[in-house]
Subunit: 236 residues, 2 copies
């Protein structure tokens, strides 16, 4: 936790004092091993970053006086469109994408996604939000990404994706493609990543028909949780 | 498992027939859902890649006739020198680095590595090997990486690292550095990555004294398990 993410209801009174119990309080006590008087990096969700000075800290709670001084780091100019990964991997990928500065993530269905994945508790709004928050705390960011779920391939790709990808560079990661993934692009990007086992031909053709270029990262086939940071870091 | 990694003792007789029980047999039955007559991608550890044609498959075992035809994908020209991550993360990072084509990994101690991590069963030779194999199976590779453990910082950095890094580009990932990580290098690389919480000043100075340039990946501080694929993909 390189930044303690605060929410409006953490504030007590109107003078910039916050009171934290639970996970954040325990982290400051047990991992930061902080004392009264110490200053910690804090950020207000969807707002600025600043400093919190600890004014009290005991077994039950932590109180800090906070001031905000600077903007969150720049977002990545990418919409990440990801075939729903298996639940445990999904959690880690959401935290990873959030930490890397992705602000729009769409999880969609594709033929090789197991239907049962869509019923996983990992996709509950609160669970998704928790993973995104872990990513922001890690990366010292405050801007919560949006995550959208699209459990049907065809209506999503045909009816929604064209508008989402308009005026962006359109790439789809596809290990069998002949084109190598570019290294550094300086324009907004829509990046589609398939499931373990890859897209079926119909899906790749549908994406190609919308202008998505299939690109590969070499001969090796990587797990989705490696592909996401590998592609984001290489492209952006 | 995009490739079934075989070992010399899987062979029965001298005519290219292998017999598999356990994890690989179950994977072929339950995930590949293969039948007698199907052909699967196989590779012999530290040797070539080819095809295995299933000749029998029942509850107990699988037998295949295998032939080898092509070389493993090219290795990455990098030595990955990584402060020992926490055990669960360490497992995933070993599999990830193996899948990306790293062939030499050195896990070393640094001030902010918890000493207890060195006693984790994850570091047993067999456990490390299992993770490396998962990476090879994922990436369709056969060349098992070497992993070395160096539980003391100073003797490793002073006595061994200079020779390891000789005639390579020397980079150390350090979020506080002023220099941005380059995008694409075309020479052998020695890449040092610190622990969660980063290096202490003495450590960064020791590395700088050996010619390691500290580089950052932007304002964001990423988890080690995101940093490894992010840096490898960006640099190589």
């Amino acid at each position: 936790m390189n930044l303690i993410l605060l929410f409006k209801d953490d504030f007590i009174g109107s003078n910039g004092r916050v009171r934290l119990e639970g996970r954040r309080h325990e982290h400051v006590r047990n991992v930061h091993r902080a004392f009264v008087g110490d200053e910690l990096c804090v950020g207000l969700c969807d707002e600025k970053i600043g400093t919190g000075k600890i004014v009290s800290l005991d077994n039950d709670a932590l109180e800090m006086d906070v001031t905000f001084s600077r903007d969150a780091p720049k977002a990545l100019a990418v919409t990440l469109v990801l075939a729903l990964p298996r639940p445990n991997m999904c959690k880690r990928i959401l935290a990873c994408a959030s930490s890397m500065g992705v602000k729009r993530i769409i999880l969609f269905h594709s033929s090789r996604v197991e239907k049962s994945f869509w019923r996983s508790p990992v996709l509950k709004e609160e669970c998704i939000k928790n993973q995104l928050i872990l990513g922001l705390e890690q990366a010292r960011d405050t801007i919560l990404p949006q995550v959208q779920l699209r459990p049907a391939f065809k209506p999503f790709v045909e009816d929604e994706l064209p508008a989402i990808a308009e005026n962006t560079l359109k790439l789809v990661a596809h290990p069998e493609s002949s084109e190598s993934c570019p290294n550094g692009v300086d324009q907004p990007l829509t990046l589609v990543i398939g499931p373990e086992g890859g897209f079926i031909s119909y899906e790749i053709e549908s994406l190609a028909a919308l202008g998505f270029t299939p690109v590969h990262l070499g001969e090796r086939i990587l797990r989705v949780e490696s592909v996401v940071p590998a592609l984001l870091s290489r492209l952006l």
